[in-house]
């Protein structure tokens, strides 16, 4: 069949119709935001059993392969951890001081007062990471039917994990703070400086995220604690985000940045909670 004949044939017209239909579906899907349109939900729900099955097999195979291919890395890590335990045993002498400091920080944060108004979901099991995503986004086993809300913060006992970005009836997708798609207004606890935590693929590869828009003369230092600022009404004030591990000046020379290691170990999450409500939710604070 020559090309001219093909372009004049019914086949080509049908192809154009199919492409137009798919473009319409895609635009509708993109316009919905959070990919929570009817088609996506239906497909997500329909493929849920396959997802679980595939995830179980994939996890099992990965664990088996891991044992064989990373045995040397585990041995090294074991040795390193033994050294660390010895070092920590030495530091136990200063433990009481550390406890006092922690209590002081807690008072400063007013975590107790703030968390008293938290309405948390039932614990959600982490089903599986999202395919071909390097920012650690994952699926949880609770969805709209369990009262989970779109854009609700997701946390565990150590701090902020991410937000719910896609909802199906019985599952949801969580985008983590490593993702460039997520921006969180934060404050550095020790210095009171404000900034935005926004994921970055370069840092995500090392399990870190990036704090941007700090003042050029920022006094932020390694080890400082980053907490949510609670200014947008999307996140409560004082939720731990992570600790600063590195600082620098942006290429433009106008602002400073910092690498932040999340308080939560995102690579080994098994259960999280969704923050459904808190005082000041949906109210922007100056």
């Amino acid at each position: 069949m020559n090309l001219r004949a093909f372009f004049r044939s019914t086949k080509f017209r049908v192809l154009l119709c199919v492409l137009a239909l798919l473009t319409g579906v895609m635009l509708y899907s993109v316009r919905q935001g959070g990919q929570t349109d009817v088609f996506s939900r239906a497909l997500q729900t329909a493929t849920q059993p396959v997802r679980r099955f595939s995830s179980a097999i994939s996890g099992s195979v990965n664990r088996t392969l891991d044992t064989y291919f990373k045995s040397k890395a585990y041995r090294d890590e074991n040795a390193r951890l033994r050294d660390r335990v010895a070092e920590l045993n030495g530091q136990l002498i200063g433990y009481d001081d550390a406890v006092q400091e922690r209590d002081a920080l807690r008072d400063q944060l007013k975590i107790k007062e703030h968390s008293a108004d938290f309405v948390l979901s039932e614990p959600c099991r982490v089903l599986m990471p999202v395919t071909n995503d390097m920012t650690g986004s994952f699926r949880i086993d609770r969805g709209e039917a369990d009262g989970i809300l779109l854009n609700a913060p997701v946390m565990d006992s150590h701090g902020l994990v991410g937000v719910v970005t896609e909802l199906a009836a019985d599952s949801a997708t969580v985008t983590t703070i490593l993702s460039p798609e997520l921006s969180v207004g934060v404050t550095v606890l020790e210095t009171g400086e404000d900034g935005i935590v926004e994921g970055n693929l370069k840092y995500a590869a090392d399990g870190q995220t990036k704090l941007i828009y700090l003042d050029k003369n920022s006094k932020v230092r390694e080890g400082n604690l980053v907490i949510t600022a609670g200014t947008t009404g999307l996140f409560p004030y004082g939720l731990p985000v992570g600790n600063i591990t590195e600082t620098g000046i942006e290429e433009s020379g106008l602002t400073a940045y910092a690498a932040v290691t999340p308080s939560v170990d995102l690579s080994s999450l098994s259960s999280v909670s969704v923050l459904l409500d808190f005082n000041g939710r949906g109210v922007a604070r100056p």
Binding site: L19, S29, L43, R51, S58, V130, N132, D133, A205
Partner: protein, 189 residues
Amino acid sequence: MKMKRKSRTTSEKRTRRRNLLRTCISVLILLLFAVPMFGGGVQPLPVIPAVICIAMYEEFYFSVFCGVLGGLLIDTACFSPLGSNAIYLVCVAAAVWLLFKGLLRRSFLHYICVTAAAVFLRCGLLYFFTQVLMQNEGRAVLWTNVLLPSSLWTLVTALPVYWLFLPCERFLRGIPAGNDFRLTGRTAE
């Protein structure tokens, strides 16, 4: 005077049954190869070689249908905007069908070359639309950590896909073992 249609011969009935069976098996193989994509983490996308295989051997409308189905499966597995991969795979299916209809011989070498082109073109487009346009910092890491491993795994899975499709095609089209269309470049239609 209205002509009464002659009842189908046994041979016609057998051919229809075979075609139906071949279509069902093709869709089943496509769905089977979609399962690994739902595993999470860095995964191959074996649906792409499966769609290419179907487009090589089957008729146009069925190839386009498989392109839509495969694309929607990738969209669902990777949480990309619904329809984006479907558009791409429909175009790939139509292009492959045209290529093997008029230009290329049906051989393993051509199949693997076309698959590699389709897989890496998808990566390029994905990278361009999600990273380059958004000017995301550190985007090169995406290549080394996700796109390249996933593409290479997809090419590896292209082998079992081909070796599964080929016997089905041979058997259900009734091609004698000696008449290998990898060598002749023609199907027994």
